[in-house]
Point group: C2
């Protein structure tokens, strides 16, 4: 590697000061057009690389935004990330990604890293059990936070997520309107706001229709395709087996349908199944999955926008506006078939 090229290398070569070079490279109107062009051309010619660490040390702005979610392998988060990415790209912010796998320690380590790097902000889907103080600490140290998908009680920050109770209500009501009376709820956890809300939506819809809710019709836990697949045998062995399953998310629903098919039954005919999220793959599952659109794109876009607004000094109120989910009916639901 040749001698490191820096601002002063350019300044010396062109007989100007580093201040002028610095301003010219950032297109400051303070520099004469001719000077600016001469500087930029030369910089490009000799392969100058801007040192962001040095600049950031001086300005205490890093151009880095952190994003931490449960697991990027989960297509739900992957879809959100895509829209965050395209939004941040537009404002030339670099983003650093991390999974916390719902481990508080991993999340804390990551936030610490962001603080050390002087990140400008963080978008997070908080790990289970995230205390309000973790968010407060970040903000007090100059790391503004925006939450997605889950909320943290008492944290005065913007949060973008869907109306989960309303969403499972849509799915459950759809099953009820088809004539189902015994409906299971598969997957999810009470440890997150999302989990509690989705379950609540199911319960409210069942109660409103005057239907019984059997505790053993709820199989909590599954959140992945694999877990949904494994839950199928438990579901199929259920006493008074339900004719329909309202699933925590699309992954669980698709896994469950695979498990049902493996057992020789036809999902969508023998057992109705609903998902949640409307992932890209819901439409091409076999059968195509009836599910609840959860606005991943919107969540990502709005969260990124809110953070960028915050960074540019606009006041962003800690909104709790929920994105309204929509039911997308496909082939995985039908009239109940009694044995």
């Amino acid at each position: 590697m040749a001698q490191k090229i820096k601002l002063s290398t350019i300044a010396d070569a062109l007989g100007v000061s580093t201040a002028t070079v610095s301003l010219a490279l950032r297109d400051s109107p303070l520099v004469a057009d001719a000077t600016r062009d001469r500087i930029k051309d030369h910089a490009r010619a000799i392969g100058y690389i801007y040192n962001r660490r040095a600049a950031s040390l001086r300005t205490s702005r890093s151009g880095i935004v952190g994003v931490v979610v449960h697991d990027i392998m989960n297509p739900f988060f992957a879809e959100i990330l895509r829209s965050i990415e395209s939004e941040l790209d537009r404002s030339r912010q670099t983003f650093i990604l991390s999974n916390h796998y719902d481990q508080l320690e991993k999340q804390r380590t990551f936030i610490d890293t962001l603080l050390q790097l002087g990140a400008d902000g963080v978008i997070m889907s908080p790990a289970i059990g995230t205390p309000r103080d973790d968010i407060v600490m970040a903000e007090e140290n100059g790391l503004p936070a925006v939450l997605i998908a889950r909320t943290v009680e008492g944290a005065q920050v913007p949060v973008f997520r869907g109306d989960d109770a309303y969403g499972t209500g849509l799915a459950t009501n759809h099953l009820i309107s088809l004539g189902h009376k015994r409906i299971a709820m598969i997957g999810g956890t009470d440890q997150t706001s999302t989990g509690r809300d989705r379950y609540q939506g199911y319960v409210s819809a069942m109660e409103a229709a005057g239907l019984d809710i059997m505790p053993h019709w709820r199989i909590p836990g599954p959140r992945t395709k694999q877990a949904g697949f494994e839950a199928a045998s438990r579901f199929l062995a259920l006493k008074d087996r339900p004719t329909a399953a309202c699933c925590w998310n699309d992954l669980v629903a698709i896994g469950l349908m695979n498990g049902i098919a493996r057992a020789g039954l036809v999902p969508g005919v023998d057992i109705s199944v609903t998902g949640y999220d409307d992932l890209e793959e819901a439409a091409i599952a076999t059968p195509a999955l009836t599910t609840v659109w959860n606005g991943q794109r919107e969540v990502g876009r709005q969260a990124a926008r809110a953070l960028l607004d915050k960074l540019s000094g606009h006041a962003v109120r800690p909104s709790q506006e929920l994105i309204k989910p929509e039911l997308h009916v496909r082939q995985s639901t039908g009239k109940p078939v009694e044995r």
Copy 2:
């Protein structure tokens, strides 16, 4: 936000120099135990946050590693990323992730960002058309690179990937041994080394068995579940329709199977299908997918190790060792059924 706490804040409070504080916080043996403990306790008590930008500016080591792949939403890369992540975590390196979506410009922007941040290295699955010079430029500017999944002709850097030709050979031979004579190859592109190698493996196996290879039996392009799904109708309409499909990857295979099922045929019975990669979901697909294990975990682990070795000054030879794929036979393949 209170007054910024820095090394000198601690030094002043404790009546020592910043040099001593700096050394103490990094557990240098040069500092007396009592002094070190006093310093570390105080630092923790007042909530000191280490400024990595300042340190990095001074040491020109950033603790940042870049990772750029085609698309993290693709489970193939997601599985690789997981093992890279766990490997880098162990050495306390932060990693920055980016998708290039096979756009050279996006990849260049990202590499530029890494250079500006003074990243220590980059692990990349190069975008289609990546010239050797892009890699050379990065290395010359102090950003060592390690390649995964794809290679770049003439780049003198380590590359970790599977033996693709051998892998599709395994799948094709498996189909041939079941009695299939008309076998299609669905998906992939000739623009990547991976694409060429996988197609070559299929061709060689067909030729070795003395079977005809019809040009129209190849449907190039698809690399996603959605595209595989859409390819099903083209495949099913094929003249002299093949009895089996050797697919570019698991996503295409699963999509194709969904499309076949949607058309009223039974994948694994009417049409045999093989995948490639052995993603986690291959085992729970319906039917369970016969596929080629491609060692994602190994690729990620080895690539991360190689980069870390390079960073700690060990010489890493530009190896081309290929990971040996393995055939995993499941239910999506069977004897041919003639119409």
